[in-house]
């Protein structure tokens, strides 16, 4: 009765994922998009760890999540550096202004 199953975590992961995606779509601030990405990655991580725990994958889920965390840190550093350059060139962080490559 009512105990927590993998489904609960998956639903939570889906919710976090959709929120992250929405953040990316709705925010015009570049940093906002980065925050959305972090949410998405966290959603993936929750799923990974939950699968690892509930499907007997042992330590694998956690190891994968660890790599995701590391990659997220790296990604954030590079993204912020790019935003700095963006800001320096366009004096804004509004990503809609960064449409110089439009077709």
């Amino acid at each position: 009765m009512g105990s927590i199953t993998l489904m609960h975590y998956l639903v939570l992961g889906a919710l976090l994922f959709c929120c992250g995606l929405l953040t990316m779509v709705v925010k015009r601030n570049a940093v906002g998009i980065l925050i959305g990405v972090e949410l998405v990655l966290n959603a993936a991580n929750v799923n990974l760890v939950a699968f690892g725990r509930y499907r007997g994958a042992g330590i694998d889920g956690q190891a994968a999540a660890l790599f995701v965390i590391v990659l997220a840190a790296a990604e954030a550093a590079v993204a912020i550096a790019i935003f700095m350059n963006f800001y320096r060139h366009l004096t804004t962080v509004d990503v809609d202004r960064g449409d110089l490559l439009r077709g």
Binding site: R28, V95, D99, L100, G103
Partner: protein, 729 residues
């Protein structure tokens, strides 16, 4: 590990420590101090190796064998164990001592030399960097000397090459220096390519990478007619010969032998102490050392190639040296020539003689290079001997020591006695062996041992015709030329060159130090540096005594430790010496006399002769056009390859395409115009138009707005999720 091995190991590692110290903290040590650190390190190594030599002399054969411990297993490559150990024998000890001793004094010299040179690059002193490189070089060279496995040898071999590159290009902001460095590196790579292929063959065929083990396996394999090594390879030579030749390729590169000698003269772009250390005394000798170590892996055919290469090289070097005007270039070509002598010695079986020559040559060539460095430094970087002259007043010590070097390289000595300089003995020994190989009756080998085995084995002929220890080589082996006499050229060419050598050396010395000053400006400013004179004197003293005291016995002792014939029959050697005496005994006198006669009154007489023999002179001046030839062959070869590709493209590929198109045309005609135009064209145009319009539509989506892209992607994912759900029921 025995204490001797430990001492050698320590002596090897000390320069590495110095390198690390200088690399990490060299800039803080400052200008003179960094140099003294490196000097102290190599001097410590020298003292250690000196102790080793002394103790080695005091040991009997059993103790020497006992002092050598088993190698340490490092790893296993496939099923071939890789072992590391110290190759402790007389040759190692001797060469080790020579390297450390010469290096020490060159270090001392360098401190004085670099003090007068600009060592600033981009406004920062690179003084410590120079000595760091020198230390690294010493470490690599010493490691090469004590390595007992081919793999280790190769590792240190490459390290030595790297150091050479770094030091030649020390003034890397000078285009010529950096070009010379790159040239040396690339040319050496060509040789090393062969070396590494040879290593691969050793690995493949012999399955043992240690020197001793490889030799043993080689002997076994060659004794067995069915073994893979005895299979015929390219050019009608068997695989055993190819193995040796490929290994020899490395030596060709490093020792600047005939096809790959072009880098050495250019390498004179490096600072002069570097030339002395690397391109005269030690590194180039490494090639000869390598051949000595892999001697037992060389078949008679391979030895013949070695001898041939040496013969060509020594001739080439000597001839070019005759017309060179740059003092360092003269020495460089004489180095090439002398290395050719050593290789020739190896090739004809004068194993001991060649190594003996290596050791004596190291001393007097280092001495002369340092002398030239003193001259260049004293004359404000003037290197052209035509503008020197009369320097003996200004530089008496340099002049005298240089003369000792010249005498040594010319093989000066009193014929018929045992009084003479190093070159006198070593060069004559090589010639004597060559003589006995050319004109001997091939039966020498049987005599000293009185052995019943016929002297027909492939490794029978070494030194004075004695049989090698590998007497189990099967008599049935088909090496017809093994016991046949060598071509007479191998004896006569070196003899002639022995006349040329004193000529060009005396020319160099005379033009530099004697006669009248030809350039007042140079002469007026010439001076000797006190610090730099000390190494000159020490090395001169070494040159005077080294031939007699130390090295001959040390080298000769290797034979019992190694795989060569145990004895050198002094008696017989003397006989040959005596026989040779009328032929080469007076060569140095003749050469000196001709040189002095030519140049006693300045350059005019020589210039006149040069004008008379203009084509020959120009040929020599352009160093037999080797650089131009290589440029032509390599660049032209590339063009040729391009042309071939072009032809292939035009004939084969285009042909196929043309044929296809022709058949298509026929097919199209055959199928009829209506069908073609209406259906096919319509379809094609329709596709094109659709694509165009789709592209336009997609282009309008291409807003450059990242959020829109994300939205679209998310929409796509959503659609797919729902589709999958719908499909899954």
């Amino acid at each position: 590990m025995s204490s001797l091995e430990l001492m050698l190991l320590a002596a090897t590692v000390i320069p590495l420590g110095s390198f690390l110290l200088l690399a990490l903290a060299g800039a803080r040590l400052g200008k003179p101090l960094a140099g003294w650190v490196a000097t102290a390190a190599i001097a410590a190594s020298c003292v250690l190796s000196g102790l080793v030599v002394v103790r080695w002399q005091g040991m009997d054969a059993a103790a020497r064998a006992a002092a050598r411990s088993a190698p340490v297993p490092w790893t296993v490559l496939g099923d071939v164990p890789l072992e590391v150990g110290v190759n402790l024998d007389g040759l190692t000890v001797a060469v080790f001592f020579m390297v450390t001793f010469v290096s020490t004094w060159i270090h001392v010299f360098s401190i004085g030399y670099m003090a007068g040179h600009s060592d600033e690059i981009d406004g920062r002193s690179k003084f410590h960097r120079f000595f760091a490189f020198l230390s690294l070089f010493c470490f690599s060279m010493l490691g090469l000397v004590i390595a007992d496995s081919l793999v280790l040898t190769f590792v240190f071999w490459e390290l030595v090459g790297l150091c050479s590159y770094l030091l030649i290009g020390f003034y890397f902001h000078k285009p010529s220096a950096s070009a010379a460095a790159i040239k040396a590196f690339v040319v050496n790579r060509v040789g090393d390519m062969g070396f590494i292929l040879g290593l691969g063959m050793v690995f493949w065929f012999l399955g043992d990478l240690s020197l001793a083990g490889a030799a043993r396996r080689f002997a076994e394999a060659c004794g067995d007619p069915g073994s893979a090594l005895r299979q015929a390879g390219p050019l009608g030579l068997d695989m055993a010969t190819w193995l040796g030749l490929l290994l020899f390729c490395g030596a060709v590169g490093k020792s600047a032998q005939f096809p790959l000698h072009v880098w050495l003269p250019d390498a004179m772009e490096g600072p002069t102490p570097v030339s002395a250390l690397i391109h005269a005394a030690t590194m180039v000798a490494a090639g000869v050392y390598l051949v000595a170590r892999i001697f037992v892996l060389l078949t008679p055919q391979a030895l013949l190639v070695v001898a041939g290469a040496g013969c060509i090289t020594l001739t080439l070097g000597a001839l070019v040296a005759v017309v060179q005007t740059d003092i360092k270039k003269v020495l460089a070509y004489s180095t090439i020539s002398q290395l050719g002598y050593m290789m020739l010695g190896m090739g004809v079986g004068a194993w001991i003689g060649a190594l003996f020559h290596l050791l004596t040559h190291a001393f007097f060539k280092a001495l002369m290079f340092l002398g030239s460095g003193q001259v260049i430094e004293g004359c404000h970087h003037e290197q052209d001997i035509r503008r020197m002259g009369g320097l003996w007043r200004r530089m008496p010590v340099t002049c005298a020591t240089f003369l000792i070097g010249v005498l040594a390289i010319a093989g000066a000595g009193i014929p018929g006695t045992s009084v003479g300089l190093g070159g006198f003995f070593s060069k004559d020994e090589i010639l004597a062996v060559a003589y006995s190989r050319v004109y001997g009756d091939g039966t020498h080998g049987a005599r000293p041992h009185g052995s019943a085995a016929p002297a027909a084995g492939p490794w029978a002929m070494t030194e004075t015709g004695h049989r090698s220890a590998l007497t189990h080589a099967v008599p049935g082996v088909e090496h017809a030329q093994a016991s046949a006499p060598l071509p007479a050229l191998l004896f006569w060419v070196p003899v002639i060159v022995a006349y040329i050598t004193p000529f060009y050396m005396m020319r160099c010395w005379w033009l530099t130090f004697m006669g009248r000053p030809r350039d007042d400006h140079v002469h007026a400013h010439a001076r000797e540096s006190a610090l730099m004179v000390v190494p000159l004197v020490v090395l001169a003293a070494g040159t005077l005594v080294c031939g007699l005291v130390l090295f001959r016995p040390l080298v000769a002792e290797v034979a019992p430790a190694g795989l060569l014939a145990p004895t050198v029959d002094g008696h017989e050697l003397h006989e040959v010496h005596h026989a040779l005496m009328p032929i080469v005994g007076g060569a140095f006198v003749v050469g000196f006399a001709v040189a002095i006669a030519l140049y006693a009154r300045g350059l005019s007489l020589a210039a006149a002769i040069a004008r008379r023999l203009r084509p020959l002179h120009r040929l020599l001046e352009h160093k037999f056009y080797f650089d131009e030839l290589y440029g032509l062959v390599l660049v032209g070869g590339t063009h040729l390859l391009k042309g071939l590709c072009d032809l292939f493209d035009r004939i084969v590929v285009d042909g196929i395409v043309d044929a296809l198109s022709a058949s298509t045309v026929r097919l199209a005609r055959f199928s009829g115009r209506d069908l073609d135009e209406r259906v096919v064209d319509g379809a094609v145009n329709g596709v094109g138009r659709t694509t165009w319009e789709l592209g336009g539509a997609a282009g309008s989506l291409q807003t450059g707005r990242i959020r829109l892209y994300i939205l679209l992607a998310a929409g796509g994912v959503t659609a797919m999720v729902w589709l999958a759900l719908a499909a899954g029921g």
